[in-house]
Amino acid sequence: MAEAAAVHSSGPPLSRRARWSPREAALGIAFCLPALAGLGVFVVFPLFQAVFLSTRSTDINGNPSRPAGWSNFSALFTAQFGDVLLHTLLFTLFVVVVGVALPLALAVPLAQRLPGMKVLRTLFTLPFAYSASAASVVWLLMLDPSMSPVNWLLRLVGITPPGWTTESPWALLTVAWATVWVVGAFNLLVLGAGLAGVDEEVVEAARIDGATGGRLFVSVILPMISPSVFFAVVTTTLSALQALGQVQVMTDGGPNGSTSTLVYSIFNHAFENGNNDYGLASAQGLVLLLVGIALAAVQFGLVERRVHYT
């Protein structure tokens, strides 16, 4: 395996001279061109425009008007924005941890060859079909103060249900959970695929050697599915950073701004309540971009080292 892998990128020894052949290079560029063109025109180019917008204030009709100097950026150094960053951090943490751990806790039992597992796996992936707003509408109903089946169940066992969207620590949890519900279903797909690719011989050998249960999982199975786990962590982080619908529909940033995340703040300043503060929204957008890059750097830099690619 090792030699095969070593040969993978460097090519057969004979073609060393031909390694940087212009034809290969041209082919490579041609293959990348559609994606790069699309991304360049519709993501990178507007990003530069957003940078430009962040240095300007907009008039009441949404046109960038006077130069605003650093005022859009100095607005980022307020306590309020600090709270927004904190909410974003907590939200992302919850969504990533629960959004990967929960599907894992489901995928592992589901990977066993027991009757009904295939059906169950399909069922558990269904929430992925919901859009963010559809999921929010349904969970709003599920946790409605007056009609919630969840509350009814809790009362049945003697627990007083908290105010899911009305009490401060719970509101953030609720919108994060609505996100986990959708994202976790996709991760179940990904982790299930990873588990299906696990080599049974290796697991069997480990079991013969005496590894069981938790130890088997942590030292044998987990490393083997680490590419899938890594992928799930990276994509869940990005989804969590950009989750908007849940906050909009369920709490609208409340109570009193305690579920206001970064992307909600951006959308709010750009489009809600008759606002058209594209300057401030762009500045905050750049912050979000930096946060994303920082997290990705951490993940690729530190976490990926522990990933075992076959």
């Binding site: 090792a2 030699e3 892998a5 070593a6 040969v7 993978h8 990128s9 460097s10 390694r19 940087w20 180019f45 507007p46 530069f48 425009q49 940078v51 430009f52 917008l53 204030s57 907009t58 008039d59 009441i60 009709n61 949404g62 046109n63 960038p64 008007s65 709003l140 409605d144 103060p145 007056s146 009609m147 105010g163 969207t165 009305t166 009490e167 401060s168 369920m250 709490t251 609208d252 409340g254 109570p255 009193n256 701004g257 305690s258 750009a270 489009f271 809600e272 309540n273 008759g274 606002n275 058209n276 750097a297 690729f300 830099g301 990926e304 080292r305 990933v307 690619y309």
Partner: protein
């Protein structure tokens, strides 16, 4: 670059890789540098283009177009004129609007064709409007009440007054209390269309069980508290709370108007441009203290500003009293019949904060704006549609189908309308409430460009007080500070 190289090494392969990579980089460096240089130049050009493109964003004011309203002759010889109408009506309201527009199109076949374009929420419609270039704006747009000042300041519309003056159109039939909201400096800027009023809703069975008379509903907040206490003390009540309503900013605006309080200076922005908010006033303070006490004493259900939750609270029979607009009546009656413990819906006047309050509620909702597109035929056609929608007969149909309050005075005297109201006595409450209201600056409501933001600031204060247990005065003062800053920023943009 160093980090990348180290990171990718363990991932790809064995020992031969590092050598390969380094060698690769040195041989390709020269051509790479050329490529990178070219890319950098391209990027610079692109960002320069991006900057100039960004300045030309949509929504520039068409101040060049005159705001004089075209006369009827503008339609002559133009064939069939297309009118695009942006709206935010959903559910049965939207269906009814489509029906009315179909009627209009039939009556004006070959001359005017109106196309409805649903634009999501009022917020979405406003965002779409602002982002549209002048050539892509609709001919007619429905905009919520709190967007009024912005629409005027945008200089992109033709005031209704222009059409009224050109045609010598009689406004005698329009309810003055309703038109007052959209009138600034004696000029009517937009035609009111769908207006609703706030009401108190009550669960008649719950009232009776507690020994209260559902036909004598409470009229002040203190009376609500007393009634809620009685309901709480009654054994065998099917409701869990005496009271429950959404922390909706619109309600607070109503309470302030009832208390004859202006919520922004310059007479609610009606005699001059408003520069300051007056959110932290005694009426609002009293109101929030009351609400905090109600929740703390278990008399009111803890709800946030989401009106869906508030509606569910009443419709499911969880609370005995609630606040909502006249339009919700139909839905409530339907839910009440299907609730676990079915009940009858009763209505009362929107409660006052203090018994001595002498003001009245603000008529809110949305209105129709004719956009200054520069195309006189379309502008004229839009006005024809507006006249049709404001017409007495149309208003009767609109009222009876949606529950929105008719803007036409004559509509209330129409036999079909009267018969409908007789079948639904709850609507009489709204009518009486309106007729008892005197038009004043307070009941005209605050007119300021950042009204939607101001409403959200008030909601934040309410949430802070009721849901987070914060101090009333502090929360209202904080909201006022925020609102003042928003108003100042808005006014600065105009200068």
């Amino acid at each position: 670059m160093t980090l990348l190289r180290e990171v990718t090494l363990p991932r790809t392969d064995g020992p031969s890789e590092p050598v390969t990579l380094r060698k690769v980089h040195t041989t390709v460096d020269r051509s790479l540098r050329q490529v990178i240089g070219a890319l950098a130049l391209a990027l610079a050009a692109v960002s320069a283009a991006g900057c100039s493109a960004a300045t030309g964003s949509g929504g520039s004011s068409s101040g060049a177009n005159s705001t004089a309203a075209p006369a009827a002759s503008a339609l002559d010889g133009k064939g069939e004129v297309d009118v695009s109408f942006w709206h935010a009506m959903t559910g049965t309201n939207g269906q009814e609007l489509q029906t009315l527009v179909d009627q209009f199109n039939k009556a004006h076949a070959g001359k005017i064709k109106v196309t409805l374009n649903f634009k999501g929420t009022y917020d979405d419609a406003l965002a779409a409007y602002k982002n549209a270039s002048p050539s892509q704006r609709p001919d007619l747009i429905q905009m919520y009440d709190i967007g009024t000042r912005y629409m005027i300041d945008s200089k992109s519309i033709i005031p209704m007054q222009s059409f009224i003056d050109t045609d010598k159109y009689s406004v005698a039939d329009i309810q003055p209390n309703i038109a007052g909201y959209y009138t600034v400096d004696g000029k009517l800027y937009s035609m009111p269309f769908n207006t609703s009023m706030p009401l108190l809703y009550l669960n008649k069975e719950a009232f009776e069980k507690a020994g209260l008379d559902p036909d004598k509903p409470p009229t002040t907040l203190d009376e609500i508290m007393a009634d809620a206490k009685k309901i709480k003390a009654t054994k065998g009540e099917t409701v869990s709370y005496g009271f429950g309503a959404s922390l909706y900013g619109w309600f607070t605006e109503q309470w302030d108007a009832l208390g004859d309080v202006t919520t922004c200076n310059q007479d609610n922005g009606r005699t001059g441009r408003a520069t300051q908010a007056d959110i932290d006033n005694p009426t609002s303070e009293k109101l929030l203290q009351w609400w905090q006490q109600m929740v703390d004493q278990g008399l009111a259900e803890k709800l946030d500003s989401n009106t869906t939750n508030g509606d569910n609270a009443f419709g499911s029979g969880t609370v005995a009293m609630s606040l909502e607009s006249t339009g919700s009546l139909g839905g409530f009656v339907q839910s009440a019949a299907q609730a676990k413990h079915p009940f009858t819906v009763g209505t009362g006047f929107f409660p006052k904060v203090s018994a001595s309050d002498a003001g009245g509620p603000i008529i809110g909702g949305a209105s129709l704006w004719t956009v200054n597109t520069g195309n006189s035929a379309k502008e004229r056609a839009s006005w024809e549609l507006v006249k049709f929608l404001a017409d007495q007969k149309t208003q009767v149909a609109w009222h009876t189908a949606t529950g929105y309050f008719p803007i036409s005075k004559g509509a209330l005297d129409d036999p079909a309308d009267k018969a409908w109201v007789a079948r639904k006595p709850q609507f009489q409450t709204a009518i009486t409430q309106l007729q008892n209201t005197k038009l004043s600056y307070a009941t005209q409501g605050c007119s300021v460009g950042v009204m939607p933001d101001m409403r959200k600031d008030v909601e934040n204060a309410e949430q802070a007080v009721v849901l987070q247990g914060k101090d009333v005065k502090q929360s209202l003062a904080a909201a006022q500070k925020t609102a003042d800053a928003q108003i100042a920023a808005y006014n600065a943009k105009l200068g």
